[in-house]
Symmetry: C2
Subunit: 209 residues, 2 copies
DNA sequence: TCATACACTGAGCAAAAGCTCACGTTTTCG
DNA sequence: CGAAAACGTGAGCTTTTGCTCAGTGTATGA
């Protein structure tokens, strides 16, 4: 038992091949978690699937959770890159309310539907790290603000606080989409619920009293 | 390596003390999962906490998952026993819509708030078994039906399909309550969102166009 | 009373998962 | 070229976890 207690800094990729290795690990992790779930998504299996030795994996990730966090971070980033331009377009082009809501609802459903099983594993089965939670809140806040910008400028909308309403919209749409896509039920068309959600939000936002 | 391959049937509790043992296991499991999460909620830890040997635990539960399922079943049953009478009372006593919605929203929040961390572990972190999923849907269906009975008889409600609307109400209230209670944010009063949810649903259900 | 079924014990096994490290291979760059 | 740095390898160590089983205590009823 030698007295070597050197800190082992995680290797940073410099050359091209090592960057490819990191990509391979992340992609393999996505597939493995999607197929086997969080618990059975072992580091050995990930390395196997990536066509690498387990040692290579630990050159770039200190532990299993680091891989999950990286995966979640990418997933959230991808969502933002699709959602934000679309939401910014609303405040710029100012479509009718019903159209805007349809875009938000169907857009959110589509985002959830991209890889539902991976999404489920990452955001339900995996113990939430503070880091991922912070990223999710950031996503939610920014989305809400953009929706609020649209609502505030929309003449049909007659709600007191459009930014509070926007948070309600974002919350409801996200949760309902999540439920519909991630835990679908056999005899139920998700479109019926999507349409009804749009109707509900429309009536909420256009106070006709 | 002897040739004994006898089937070992799980023991059913007959005497009083064994039934107490089962209770102790379930209660200990609740505490351990609440404190340590699903993965770190090991059978040894549960037995320890229950003041029993690990052997006793395996007399009554074939594996770890069986304990989780039993726990979830009890949790769902408990919720039903509170929720159903309350929802039945609505259709019987026919309070004004806003009062009914307030009862539903605050009641649901209270149910979620009973043991939020255990709730989170059971219904997020734990891989969903088909059995638990079925129980959850049963709970949802029955709640929706009862809400629908109220909505169908409520003169203020002017929605086409009250039972579809009821499913929307149940879905939204459950998801929003879950989000608010299980993943609370620092600077946010959940009551603001609760009130706004009530307002949203009220406007949705009373089509004034 | 005492035989029998019921109940409980806990050392420890088998399997699996996370992770290390000493060593070989490839790339870079003077 | 050739040395140093970057990169890749995989047998196997360590720890943990789910779970067993041979044996000991405890209640029950004939």
């Amino acid at each position: 038992m030698p007295a070597k207690n050197l800190i082992k800094p995680r290797r940073m990729p410099r050359q091209g091949r090592s960057r490819e290795t990191v990509e391979a690990i992340v992609e393999a992790a996505a597939q493995v978690f999607e197929r086997h779930g969080y618990a059975a998504g072992t580091t050995n299996r990930i390395a196997d699937r990536a066509g690498l030795s387990i040692g290579s994996l630990y050159q770039y990730f200190p532990n299993k959770d680091a891989i999950v966090v990286e995966l979640a971070r990418r997933h959230i980033t991808d969502i933002g890159e699709v959602a934000w331009p679309a939401l910014e377009a609303l405040a710029r082009e100012m479509p009718p309310l019903r159209e805007a809501l349809a875009a938000i609802v169907f857009g959110t459903i589509e985002l959830h539907a991209r890889s539902p099983e991976l999404h489920r594993v990452l955001f339900e089965e995996t113990p939430r790290s503070d880091e991922i939670q912070a990223l999710m809140w950031e996503l939610f806040d920014r989305s809400s603000r953009l929706i609020g910008d649209y609502l505030a400028a929309c003449p049909e909308v007659s709600v007191r606080d459009p930014y509070l309403a926007a948070r309600m919209v974002a919350q409801v749409v996200d949760q309902v989409s999540h439920g519909a896509v991630i835990h679908p039920r056999d005899g139920e068309a998700p479109e019926v619920y999507a349409r009804e959600t749009i109707t509900m939000l429309e009536r909420y936002l256009t106070e006709l009293g």
